[in-house]
């Protein structure tokens, strides 16, 4: 039953994500955020989530703003020139409604790699001497009661192979319940092809119990198997496939469309105000049946202006 994985985003989210789930989101800042899937989590009001990220931006900021995130392990909450710190993230930390544990991007990537390998930890030099090691966001007690949190944040230890003392920091494996990805191509069987930078999507997917993927193009498995060396993940790891063209909007999808700078700039100012942020959620997410309606709302004309040049992978800026 290869087609059993093909479903709507509503079905995929209700099947695999529930209250208190730990989730990780693919993509990086303005690229390939799993927006369609995050919209669906917000529509279904699945809360008390534990999110594990390296560099989160738009998708994460919506989840936080919708009040659905309880614990956040993260390296970076910003969106480049579009938000020097993600707005709802910043507000939620400052008003105490969101608890954060800070890591670095390499540490988070290694945590997913350890999770993908099935080992409890991996060593690195990154972070030695910094407050990332000494200051903790989650207490020992929380760590012992919340199953998805590691018992320790980071541990400094010595190299057991070396007779001369040498210090390293070990990072705990991250194994999210569900990883959400948006990719360029997928098949009903669950074959995945990512084009351009993979970021940490592969490690995040391999570390997770379940993987939900939205794709720009749904293509026959035969076609992806013909050049399987270009594929990013095997079908074994993918639980659900949803066809969502523009599923990363307003972030970019390399070779398909650019990020929507106007939308992101508007968002930065409206997210500053609670009422206008609520209105954004209502208009773009909760009053709609599905992400397909969101795509209609944004409109084909506007989306057309974001279409990427197939040569460049992005839309050339007008001079």
């Amino acid at each position: 039953m290869v087609t059993a994985k093909l479903m709507t985003s509503s079905e995929a989210i209700s099947k695999f994500v529930c209250a208190s789930s730990s989730i990780s989101l693919g993509g990086f800042t303005v690229n390939r955020n799993p927006m369609a899937l995050v919209h669906e989590i917000i529509r279904q009001e699945i809360g008390n989530l534990h999110v594990m990220m390296h560099s989160g931006s738009q998708a994460l900021d919506l989840l936080i703003g919708a009040g659905l995130v309880r614990f956040l392990e993260i390296a970076y909450g910003a969106n480049g020139r579009f938000a020097s710190t993600c707005i709802r993230f910043r507000k939620a930390v400052q008003d105490g409604s969101l608890q954060v544990e800070d890591y670095s991007n390499f540490q988070m990537s290694l945590r997913f790699l350890a999770g993908a390998m099935g080992v409890p930890y991996l060593p690195t030099y990154a972070g030695l001497g910094s407050d990332i090691i000494s200051k903790w966001g989650f207490s020992k007690k929380q760590r012992s009661t919340v199953e998805s949190l590691p018992n320790e944040k980071l541990i400094v230890t010595s190299n057991p192979f070396n007779s001369i003392p040498e210090q390293l920091v070990i990072v705990p494996a991250a194994n999210p319940d569900v990883t959400l990805l948006h990719v360029q191509q997928a098949s009903a069987e669950g074959l995945i092809r990512i084009e351009g930078l993979a970021f940490a999507d592969i490690e995040q997917a391999r570390a997770a119990e379940h993987v939900i993927v939205t794709c720009e193009e749904l293509v026959p498995s035969d076609q992806l198997r013909k050049e399987s060396w270009h594929n990013s993940l095997p079908h074994l790891l993918v639980d659900a496939v949803v066809h969502h063209p523009y599923g990363a909007h307003p972030t970019a999808c390399f070779l398909y469309y650019d990020y929507d700078a106007a939308h992101l700039n508007d968002y930065r100012s409206l997210a500053e105000d609670d009422e206008s942020f609520e209105a954004y959620l209502t208009r773009h997410i909760t009053s709609l049946e599905s992400f397909h309606d969101y795509v209609k709302l944004i409109g084909t004309k506007h989306l057309g202006s974001l279409l990427a040049s197939k040569e460049l992978g992005y839309a050339r800026r007008e001079h």
Partner: protein, 256 residues
């Protein structure tokens, strides 16, 4: 072409002048990237620019606005992953040659940086983005340089949070905690260029721009600086300004 110039242009050009053909430059976005792009498009065409997202030596026909921008992917030598990028920062062949350019909201006399919170970590007055890859770069690569707006509130004796390790508490303390190499070489600011005393690793003024006096720079710094060896940095030449304004950022996406 206007011969007058802004502080932003001056510091970008001061950065570009100090990048060589052999450098493997790790960059975020914004002014440091403009400096690196300017070096590559003028006197250092063979320098390699790479990003923590895994993009190595891209064409950079247009300025990326984040390191996840599709503009870092086009024409690259490799599109890899975050892990690939961090591996290049620390393997024995490329790691020591990587020049990382960092910035932060606060810097202390030893070049340690804060980009995480202002105020108490548990109840911050202002939450900032966090490390991203900055802590990793500061920990792992051979050399780092730091870009800062030169203001008293940013140059502080004591950081609110140490996101990225510089020289920690001075000479010897990086190796004491186990950091294998690296440390900041220079701090390039809106007023001048600072380096670190070799015997103490404490920051001192190395050069000041024509519009800034060493005494004024001390005034804008929240800790004591040795300014006695400072030399005046040359003003940008017309060629440099033209390269920056017409070739690197013609749409004024970063230079406002």
């Amino acid at each position: 072409m206007r011969a007058d110039f802004t502080e932003m242009e001056m510091m970008t050009i001061a950065c570009a002048r100090r990048i060589g053909n052999e450098d493997i430059v790790f960059c975020g976005t914004g002014l440091p990237l403009l400096g690196a792009m300017m070096a590559k498009k003028t006197h250092a065409p063979n320098c390699v620019i790479f990003f923590e997202t895994g993009a190595l030596d891209p064409a950079l026909d247009e300025i990326p606005l984040t390191v996840g921008d599709s503009r870092v992917m086009h024409g690259a030598s490799q599109n890899g992953s975050l892990l690939d990028a961090f591996f290049y920062m620390q393997n024995s062949r490329t790691g020591p040659n990587v020049l990382g350019i960092l910035s932060g909201a606060q810097i202390d006399p030893y070049g340690n940086l804060n980009s995480t919170v202002i105020g108490d970590y548990d109840k911050p007055d202002a939450r900032l983005p966090g490390s991203g890859g900055a802590c990793d770069v500061a920990s792992l690569v051979g050399r780092t340089r730091i870009f800062m707006k030169h203001e008293k509130r940013r140059f502080v004796e004591q950081l609110d949070y140490m996101t990225s390790p510089g020289w920690l508490r001075g000479i010897g303390s990086r190796s004491e905690v186990g950091l294998p190499r690296g440390g900041p070489e220079l701090v390039i600011t809106t007023l001048g260029v600072l380096d670190f005393d070799e015997s103490t690793r404490r920051m001192r003024l190395s050069s000041h721009y024509s519009y800034a006096e060493p005494d004024g720079i001390q005034e804008s710094t929240g800790f004591k600086l040795d300014t006695s060896h400072s030399k005046e940095e040359e003003n940008p030449t017309l060629e440099e300004l033209e390269a920056l304004r017409e070739v690197v950022d013609p749409l004024r996406l970063i230079l406002k």
